[in-house]
């Protein structure tokens, strides 16, 4: 066999891309899926891509899902890579989730509370039976309608705070950091930790949050409140000096309430874990809240013993774009390094064989 150099890399790349495009389209006799279908009917996928892609744009996220053939981490990567090229006009005012137009709001710690429990569109009480009627399709009967509730729903934590039972919400005066512009360094403040968790991988945070419940850094959580709905985003243009509403976004927010025995400096009280995600993403928001609380171990004087309490460990590994890149880069050629290892192993084997002979 003659030696064939790896020539033809250019042609190979072009051919690979052509094949990929063909595969993405699938059977040409089946109608092509369009972005409105993805955004409308695969909404949870779009939500996840917006959250992990750190960019709120349903249409672009739908495009990314389509382009990535439904590979959501690849789609989040596409959205992130696009996001970095966008100029920044302004930073928004903090969104006020107390003024959320709520679709769903539940609390696990009170039977009833001002504003009530609002179940909303949830899978929670569906029976997970494959719905064969859905395979055929069709328009479902309209859901019952009611007059929209215009009153704003107080946050459960604010209710608890009246009695001083939950730690006060301490917003730092300092300008929050921005981990998309400045490299993360440790120790990382809660602002940066929450940013990292908000764009962190849902699966990774889910497993870490789960590990805290199973005893690896137990933080005794209760779901104080989960709310889902639309909030207004406002910016203050410098030339105007007052806030202007630039649009609404859908958010899922989770406030965990955690037991706390108290310490030298703080009386026994409940502490908070916070989760917030773009779109409808309860699993993500809840997992994030669990991990946020466990990452506060050091601050609250608890022993740091479990992975979920180790800030550097969690923040360095929660980003799935970074993780997938480094794991998958192993498929790039490494033959130069492997060659040097081959020579080293051959030498070590020769040395070992020499020693064995000498011993005989």
């Amino acid at each position: 066999m003659a030696y064939v150099a790896v020539k033809g890399g250019e042609q190979a790349i072009d051919n690979a891309h052509a094949w990929l495009a063909e595969q993405r389209r699938g059977d040409a006799s089946v109608p092509e899926i369009d972005l409105a279908q993805i955004a409308g009917q695969l909404g949870r996928a779009v939500d996840r891509v917006m959250a992990e892609g750190s960019c709120y744009d349903r249409e672009l996220a739908a495009l990314a899902v389509k382009q990535a053939q439904g590979d959501l981490i690849e789609a989040a990567f596409l959205l992130r890579a696009y996001r970095t090229t966008l100029p920044r006009f302004a930073a928004s005012e903090p969104v006020d989730t107390a003024r959320m137009l709520v679709q769903r709001r539940i609390s696990g710690v009170f039977k009833d509370l001002p504003g009530g429990q609002v179940l909303g569109p949830t899978y929670d009480y569906t029976h997970r039976l494959l719905d064969f009627a859905l395979a055929v399709g069709g328009t479902p009967p309209p859901a019952p309608q009611a007059e929209p509730d215009t009153e704003t729903l107080p946050r459960v934590n604010d209710i608890l705070a009246h009695e001083g039972l939950v730690e006060p919400d301490t917003a730092a005066d300092a300008e929050p950091g921005d981990l998309t512009r400045d490299p993360l360094s440790f120790p990382a403040g809660r602002d940066l930790r929450l940013q990292a968790l908000a764009r962190g991988d849902e699966g990774f945070l889910l497993s870490l949050g789960y590990s805290t419940q199973r005893g690896y850094g137990n933080s005794h959580p209760f779901a104080g409140e989960i709310r889902l709905g639309e909030v207004a985003v406002e910016i203050v243009p410098p030339e105007l000096g007052f806030p202007v509403d630039i649009g609404d976004i859908t958010l899922t927010e989770c406030q965990m309430v955690n037991q706390f025995a108290g310490s030298k400096t703080a009386p026994p009280q409940f502490t908070r874990g916070y989760g917030l995600s773009f779109g409808h993403a309860e699993r993500k928001a809840m997992a994030m809240a669990l991990v946020d609380r466990s990452l506060r171990a050091d601050e609250l004087g608890e022993d740091v013993t479990a992975p979920a309490q180790d800030v550097e460990f969690v923040l360095s590994h929660c980003d799935n774009i970074e993780a997938t890149g480094f794991v998958e880069h192993l498929k790039l050629p490494h033959y130069v390094d492997f060659q040097s290892e081959l020579e080293t192993v051959r030498r070590m084997r020769a040395d070992a064989a020499g020693l064995a002979e000498a011993a005989e």
């Binding site: 066999m1 003659a2 030696y3 150099a5 790896v6 020539k7 033809g8 890399g9 250019e10 190979a12 790349i13 990567f77 992130r80 890579a81 996001r83 970095t84 090229t85 100029p87 998309t180 512009r181 400045d182 490299p183 993360l184 360094s185 440790f186 120790p187 550097e312 360095s316 774009i321 970074e322 997938t324 890149g325 480094f326 794991v327 998958e328 880069h329 192993l330 790039l332 050629p333 490494h334 033959y335 130069v336 390094d337 060659q339 040097s340 290892e341 081959l342 020579e343 080293t344 030498r347 070590m348 040395d351």
Partner: protein
Amino acid sequence: MTNGYNFAYLDEQTKRMIRRALLKAVAIPGHQVPFGSREMPLPYGWGTGGIQVTAAVLGPEDVLKVIDQGADDTTNAVSIRRFFARTAGVRTTTHTTEATVIQTRHRIPEAKLREDQIIVYQVPMPEPLANLEPSRTEARRMHGLAEYGLMHVKLYEDITRYGHVSISYDYPVMVNGRYLMSPSPIPAFDNPKLNMMPALQLFGAGREKRLYAVPPYTEVRSLDFDDHPFRTTRAPHACGLCGATDSYLDEVVTDDRGGRLFVCSDTDHCETRRAAAGGGITP
């Protein structure tokens, strides 16, 4: 410049930020400088750090060479070269001597580099202590105190166990007698080239968000002991194509009966030698 993107893809603000970090890196040879690494349209692990450094130093007059494993024609090298040809419109070359900027993954070209050249290394793990101390916070402290005993112990343990140091690539170096540095996963064979190199050496780690540099004519020593001096290894063969006996060789499997062909990993070096010899040896 093309396709609605700025010259060399990154916006000027980002390039300025990277250049500032590079200036600091050059001022403190071998020291890892954190920088605001951006998501690039290529995945982490594919050379995003190197690409950002190249984008920050590249000018319209530059001639760019990109190699991966020493070769210009590996798919990732092709992809990165195309990226810059498309976003910066710069001239590209495969000839080491023609290039003003060389981006590399895992090799240093065999040809001696010059003062008017810059070599940009893609770095996966900038922290040389990572395998000994996984916490970057702790490793940073160790660098600050030049506390490198742990690495010497690792080398010592290798020698007691195997009779020699078992690190064959990404072999740690001391830069300017101060900072322990990862030379990126180049084979230890290439380490001597780092020392007193006339070209500016820049290192970019995108995922880890670190940059570092070795300025021209800087002392770079591979860690060793007086009684166990650093030595390099290469496959004990001549290149099957150009006959070189001093270049780093790839081992190409030619059949399933143990057949092997050893050829230069630096494709330009091999081709140049063959051209000079009028065709060279045909295997």
